[in-house]
Amino acid sequence: MTVFPTLFPILLIGLIAWMMPALVPRSVPFGVRIPGARAQEPVIAQQRRLYRYGVAAISLVVASVVLATGSRPALGGLGVAAELAGAVALFQVARRRIMAVKQHEHWFGGLRQVVVTDTSLRTDPEPYPWRWAVPSIVLTAATVVIGILRYPHLPARLAIHFDAASQADRYAPVSLVWAFGPVVAQVLGTALFAGLAALVLRSKAQLDAEDPQTAAVRHRRFVSSGARALLLLATCLSVTSLLTSLTAWQIVNLARPARALFPVIPLLGVVVLVAVLVRVGQNGSRLRIRASRGSGSARRTSAVNRDDDRYWRLGLLYFNRDDPSLLVPHRFWLGWTLNLARPAAWAIIAATLGAPLITALIR
C-alpha cells in the first residue's frame, strides 16, 4: 500500500508515453510532418514499435527499482524524471530516423504544400461554455464571502499543521495573509482557468490540408471539449480550496482521512481532462466523424500539409516569428503549447515559474 503512491505516477507516465504515438494526428508521427500518403511507410511502423518497446522497458526497470528499494518519495521523483528523460530520448531517436528517410526519399518532392483554414471557425466561433464556468465562479465567490464574514470571529491564531492524531501541533498568528492567502490563490486560479478556456477556444486551428472540411469539425470538437474539461478541473480545484479554507477557518472540523481526500478531487479533474483529450485525440484526430458531414475520400484535396518541421525545434518546441498565435496545438502530445517566438510566451513561463518563488519569499 505504501508503495502505491510512488509507483502510480511511474506507471501512469509509462502508459501515457506508450500511448503517445496513437494520440497525435497521422500527419505528424514523432513530430515529423509527412504527406498523408506516407503514413503507412514501414519506417514509421518500425520506429513506433521500437519506441514502444523502449518505453515499456524503461518503465518496468524504473518500477522494479522503486519496488526493490522500498518507496522513498525522493526516489519516486527521480524515477519519474528518469522515465521522462528516457521517453524523450526514444522520441528523438524515432524522429531522427523518420526525418532521415523523409529527406532521403524526398517525400514532399513535387507536392503542392498548402496551409488551410476555415474562416467560419472565427466568424461563427464555438460559444464560451459559461454553464461549465459557473460552478467554479460560484464556489470562489462563496469562499470570499464566507471568509469576509468569518474573519472578525477568527481566533488570534490558526492551526496550520496537524499531527497523526489529528491534533493541531503548529499554529500561526491570524493575519490577512494567512486567512486570505489561499482565497487570493483560489480567485487567481479560477480566473486563470476561465481565461485558459477562452484561449483554448481561440487557439490556432491547425487544419489538415488533405481533408480540411472534416478537420474543421474535429477542431471544433477538440477545443470545445478541452475548454469544458479545463473548467471542470477549475471546479474541482475550487471545491478543494473551499474545503481547505473552511477547515482552516474552523467552520468545519473534518477528521484526518477526510482531509486527505482534498487533493484527490483536483487529481480527479486532471484524470478527466486527460481522459477527454485521449478520447478526442489531438486536434480531434481520434474522433469518428460520419462521412455525411461532407468528408470522405471523394472530397479530399490534392494538396498536402506544408512541411513545417523547421518551426518545431527538436520536434517539441514551437518557434515561429511570423505566426502571431500564442497557443498552438502540441505536435507530439495532447493539448497546447506556446509559440516561443512570442514575448508573451516568455512572460507566461516567467509568471508560472516565478509565482511559487515569490510566494515562498513573501512567506
Binding site: Q113, T119, S120, R122
Partner: protein
C-alpha cells in the same frame, strides 16, 4: 469558407489571400454583410505574418469589396447582387482580362476554346451553391 494558400508558391501570399476572398465572393460563399476573421486571428490560423493579412484586406478595401471598421472588423461590402460596377472599374478589369486572354492566345489556345473555358468558370460562380456547413450562421 475554406481558405487555402500555397505557402512556398510563386504568387505572393497577400495576393493569394486577396484572390481567394474575391473568388469566395463571386461564388457566393461570402455574401455582402458577412464578416471575415480578425487580422490577427486569420494570420494565426494560417501561421503567416499579420502584415500579409493586413495587406490583403487593404487591397480588398481599395477595391471596394470589403469595409474595415475598428469595431466591426472586415465585412464584405459588395457581392454579385450589389449591382454593376462603375465604368472606371470595368475599364481596369478589362485591362487585366486582356492580359490574361492574351496569354491564352499567345500560347495557341483557340478563341472558341478560350471562350468555352471562360464560360465554364463563369457557370461555376453563378451555379455556386455554397456549402451551408462552411458558411455557418454568419450569412445574415
Amino acid at each position: 469558407m475554406l481558405l487555402s494558400l500555397e505557402v512556398d508558391g510563386a504568387v505572393p501570399l497577400y495576393q493569394q489571400l486577396r484572390d481567394r476572398i474575391v473568388e469566395a465572393i463571386a461564388s457566393g460563399a461570402l455574401r455582402r454583410g458577412d464578416s471575415l476573421p480578425a487580422t490577427r486571428q486569420l494570420a494565426a490560423d494560417l501561421g503567416i505574418n499579420m502584415h500579409t493579412v493586413n495587406k490583403a484586406y487593404d487591397l480588398l478595401r481599395q477595391e471596394g469589396l470589403i469595409r474595415l471598421g475598428r469595431r466591426t472588423g472586415a465585412v464584405v461590402s459588395r457581392d454579385a447582387a450589389s449591382g454593376p460596377p462603375a465604368a472606371a472599374e470595368i475599364a481596369q478589369w478589362e485591362q487585366r482580362a486582356r492580359t490574361l486572354l492574351a496569354e491564352a492566345v499567345a500560347k495557341g489556345l483557340s478563341p472558341q476554346e478560350t471562350l468555352r473555358r471562360c464560360q465554364t468558370i463563369l457557370d461555376d460562380f453563378t451555379a455556386g451553391s455554397p456549402d451551408p456547413a462552411l458558411l455557418g450562421e454568419s450569412a445574415s
